[in-house]
Assembly symmetry: C2
Homo-oligomer: 473 residues x 2
Amino acid sequence: MSARDGLIARLTGIVGEANVLIDAGDVAGYRTDGRGEGDGVPLAVVRPVDADAVSALIHLAAERGVRIVVQGARTGLAGAGLASEDGGCLIVNLDRLSRHIAIDPENRTATVDAGVRLSALNAAAAEHGLFFPIDLGADPAIGGMIAANTGGSRLLRYGDVRSNLLSLDFVRADAEGASMTLGAPLWKNNTGLDLKQLLVGSAGSMGIVTRATLALQPLPRHRITAMIALREPAFALPLLLALERDFGTLLSAFEGMSGPAYAAALEHVPGLRSPFANIPNYVVLVELSAGAVLDEALLEEWLAVDLEPYMDGDGAPVIDVAIDHRDGLWAIRHAVPEGLRASGTVIACDIALRRGDMMRFRDDMAGRLKAEAPMLVPHDFGHIGDGGLHYNLVWPSAAGPVDRTVVERTRSLIFDAVVREYGGSFSAEHGIGPRNIAHYPRFVPAPVRQLAGALQQLVAPVPLGRVDFGMME
Amino acid sequence: MSARDGLIARLTGIVGEANVLIDAGDVAGYRTDGRGEGDGVPLAVVRPVDADAVSALIHLAAERGVRIVVQGARTGLAGAGLASEDGGCLIVNLDRLSRHIAIDPENRTATVDAGVRLSALNAAAAEHGLFFPIDLGADPAIGGMIAANTGGSRLLRYGDVRSNLLSLDFVRADAEGASMTLGAPLWKNNTGLDLKQLLVGSAGSMGIVTRATLALQPLPRHRITAMIALREPAFALPLLLALERDFGTLLSAFEGMSGPAYAAALEHVPGLRSPFANIPNYVVLVELSAGAVLDEALLEEWLAVDLEPYMDGDGAPVIDVAIDHRDGLWAIRHAVPEGLRASGTVIACDIALRRGDMMRFRDDMAGRLKAEAPMLVPHDFGHIGDGGLHYNLVWPSAAGPVDRTVVERTRSLIFDAVVREYGGSFSAEHGIGPRNIAHYPRFVPAPVRQLAGALQQLVAPVPLGRVDFGMME
């Protein structure tokens, strides 16, 4: 029996034959994530159904010197859950570790297996008038959301995954594959170092989360969405500040779309209809939501009062407003990524800036791109209420074959400006993975990387995942 | 020159003579925190004015083998900022590291020195219609708030310090006293392990935070408070769930006071007036707050509609309701700790439970205490909307001298029940320090302590502060 056959036999012993995939055809579906196919082919894909199996897999991997890469619902955008190019890694996919979903409606918490999807969690929570308030276009697994510390469209009001995580169980990447519970199903709990924080945003490189307890929020009973066409993007900031002052925590999303991003969604995604006669220069999507005491009519009335002064006369900053009591306007916003992909090759830059810098950055960068890479057209959009901007560029299909050198040079130019000139972030909410790891040592100072690497070594002595946080240039 | 004189000379060289306190009289004020005087006397108290001085002090302490204990505004309740009994430690007090307060109103952030008080931060933020939403009875320094991960009365809506911290500068406790910036003034930022989390809730044992950037929130423009007298404590939970459903994020606090806690505040603290004819069995304080679009009249009207069904007829669960548009009712709630201190000796237990367990725990524990320690009268109060309960007992002055053995046995009994029977926490929001460290190894599992200790060793190789997170039994 070859070493590989021996490994497969051991894997089969742990998770059963049906949960060990090795044929190229069976494995194919596990080689892609939210950005398409990765370059690597795994040794095998295994699908454990419980934490004990995860522990046994870690133990086996340690013994054999095989690197495990954990994979959730394959909606990640940084490639952190995909096989490495060397062909030597084992994908541990958590799809089947998804049997446990327990809602505690009095405590407003949910305890779920790591492979449970966001949609399944929310379906269970909705029966109790609750939801997990991280809003995303995709439907990730909870374990993946923890590994990426996802943010999304409602961070403005509810925070990120980190702010809504109460406890987790994880298997350490050590020789034993020891399980550990960190935290408790409690809203307040300060009994020492909060070690679970090390797993959040760790790109699956610090251990394998098998179960988590999450904080839930009351499902809003009333909600309106407004799509607002602006004469100039710069008006987004004063509008945001006015809405925050006037609506307080009733403001649950403040999203932005550049004209090209908005146009691409409408042009390429079937079933959408623009509420505006023309493609605006810039579009803001505002969501207001509230409990049962309020109603949509009141929210709409108040919003109209708030916006009125900005709509008055020629040259008014607000050109037009459309109101929606359902999800039609959100559908346009959520269609933007698909619209971009249909327009050409997308160069994605998931950046964050101080909120006050966003529109200045856009102007500044548009000018530089015209000089440096005129074929790349900014199609930016994102969560401008929290400073998160998907500063995505499109290389139009009509502009000929993509030159990867130009693309990578341009991404570097953008990230350099974001981090070095604006003090922003080169990874707002997608996290670190093979697709952006090259920029990690460029922007994270060496002493921070050194410390992070030592922590990783300590918590996960057996190499796990795709990211080495101690990476030097 | 003696070794001590040599040390004082070096300290003076770093911070200047005026900022080195050694006389017993000068030092006295630095030996107390929010629970009174600690047992230790420091070698000296030094007051650095900038991060460079902090770094030099760490360097010196490492060289001399002197343990530094960091101290903020001395409002902590676990003793983590007080000198140890061995007399060998140096208090580094951050009162004077408080010159920098910069508000970025567009970004809704504040960057402040660690010694800045919460009240000073909020005064600066208020000029821009903003506030730091951690609400406490005390006025701590920001560095202390980070070290304790304070929660307070509005965690229900805004989360704890951890959820509202964007970045920090800290000095490592290593031989060099190296400074490091972790994070950035950004709402979304995922560029690797979030190492700043290790400083949050670390009781000043992982490094010295010198500056931080915090997330601010729009200051509510309208606010009402309702004091609600309940026939039975058990009705607090259905009331909370109804208000969460109906008011959503307009609900900004949900506090509870037992009859004895409420009575103690009114009896002993001057200037308070109960809105109720009798002392209720249980009192809930509800705060609703909103942006400019809403007003107090509307909030009051909606609350009346919500409460009406619970006030109807004999035996109705709600006995009486008082409404306040200012801070009179909050004053009663904030007076509870003082009322308890005036009633006798307070045995404080800062616990957390699942919200659904709170009232069952109270009944259960009251019965056990009657049998085990009948002189100790529960005077519990707290943040019952988030499961945080100050399960405080009073040994009345009239019951004779306090028997410390009974007190410690009773605290252990309470903590055992909380953690082992209810899955709760023995430290909800005050954190770990000399006053409760004995319980840490009893409830935190050995593998978690082992890992925490190794992390502490790695991040802070030079011993710092009062807590050893690797402590074994």
